[in-house]
Symmetry: C2
Subunit: 239 residues, 2 copies
């Protein structure tokens, strides 16, 4: 926990915050914190600053906070991701928040197993918790907006064209002739398929909506590796 | 398993291969394979081709193989990685093999927990198995060479300068002014620190050996995310 994040609803007055649960355990067990302990804090969706621990009992902690800095800029990227298996999704949610992706759209695809859509991870609370872990890691207060689209075709035909307008829109596709750009300027969109890739029909719809197929190399990477590799290429600063 | 890999010691004559264990279970349970089933095969360290299943009993399978293609090129990269926690190491070994990294050197650092060096994952067999999973994924027959260096300073002072010569040598360092290059040509070396980063003394030794600090952006990424992001920048083809 590089940053202790709290919700606006946890404020008490102008500069007091009362927290519970996992963060209190972390303060005690990992930091061995006692009253007077200072640490970086942030308000979810808001600003960053310093907190000082005023009291810590079994279940809760009271902090005095001073917020004086804006959070880091977002990565202006819409990520369209075929729903991965739950175990992988957990890690990917963290990574997506670490990079500060502005919007994540989890979509269906022929090669997504139907059972993945039953995962408890797709509850608002679980999505929030995993994204929060990534934001804590990267010292950010803002979480990617997440949308679920259980039907690929209506999404690709009715929503995606508008999302692609004004953005450089890409689809990661192993067979593509064009390589994935590095650190392009301006708003982006990238679609990344399931383990076995989008099928030809889906690639056709993505292209019709405005996405250009790009390659991350000739190797067949796991979806998880491909996603983080793509974020590393697109998201890190230009040379 | 995008590729069935076998060892030279599993050959029987010029074109027969007898395999056991996990691969046999995978053939039966995932592929539902019966005699006549054809699939991509490769010899570890050797060539790629096609295999045809001749027989399959409880514990073993016999295949006829024809190898006619060279494996994909290596990524000419020496990766110097502070030993990560075992759970993370498993995934990183896979990713390193997926990218075809030529050499992996796991090193100590002040901020590496001592207990990580006791992990069973560091046995030759375990390293081999996880690298193999990455090679199967990426349809490669060659595995990264792995070396362990339990003392940082002798490694950095006595071995690293020679490794850096003739290579573009980098160290990922959050504070660096220079961004990490994308798809640079020629042989590379990159050093990546533990979760909390190399300490100043270690960064000094890495620089003295010839490594230039480069940044993957202002965000504090987990070591795992940083490694895959760096491989995505360095390893994918140039625009």
């Amino acid at each position: 926990m590089n940053l202790l994040l709290f919700a606006g609803s946890e404020r008490e007055g102008t500069d007091r915050v009362r927290i519970r649960g996992r963060r209190v355990r972390h303060l005690r067990e990992v930091f061995g914190a006692a009253p007077g302990h200072a640490l970086p804090v942030g308000e979810i969706g808001g600003r960053l600053g310093r907190g000082t621990l005023l009291s810590l009992d079994g279940a809760e902690a009271l902090l005095k906070v001073t917020l004086e800095r804006d959070p880091p800029p977002r990565l202006p990227l819409v990520l369209v991701l075929a729903l991965p298996r739950p175990k992988m999704l957990r890690r990917l949610l963290r990574a997506v928040a670490e990079f500060g992706v502005s919007e994540l759209i989890l979509v269906n695809s022929e090669r997504v197993e139907k059972s993945f859509w039953q995962s408890e991870l797709l509850s608002d609370q679980a999505l929030h918790d995993y994204l929060l872990a990534g934001a804590e890691q990267a010292r950010d207060t803002r979480l990617p907006a997440v949308a679920l689209r259980r039907r690929f075709r209506p999404f690709a035909e009715d929503e995606l064209p508008a999302l692609c307008r004004g953005r450089r829109a890409l689809v990661a596709h192993p067979g593509a002739a064009k390589p994935c750009p590095a650190s392009p300027a301006g708003p982006l969109l990238i679609a990344i398929g399931p383990e076995a890739g989008f099928n030809d029909f889906e690639i056709g719809l993505l292209q019709a909506a405005g996405c250009t197929p790009v390659s991350l190399g000739t190797r067949t990477l796991r979806a998880e590796t491909a996603l983080v590799a793509a974020l590393g290429r697109l998201g890190a600063p230009a040379e």
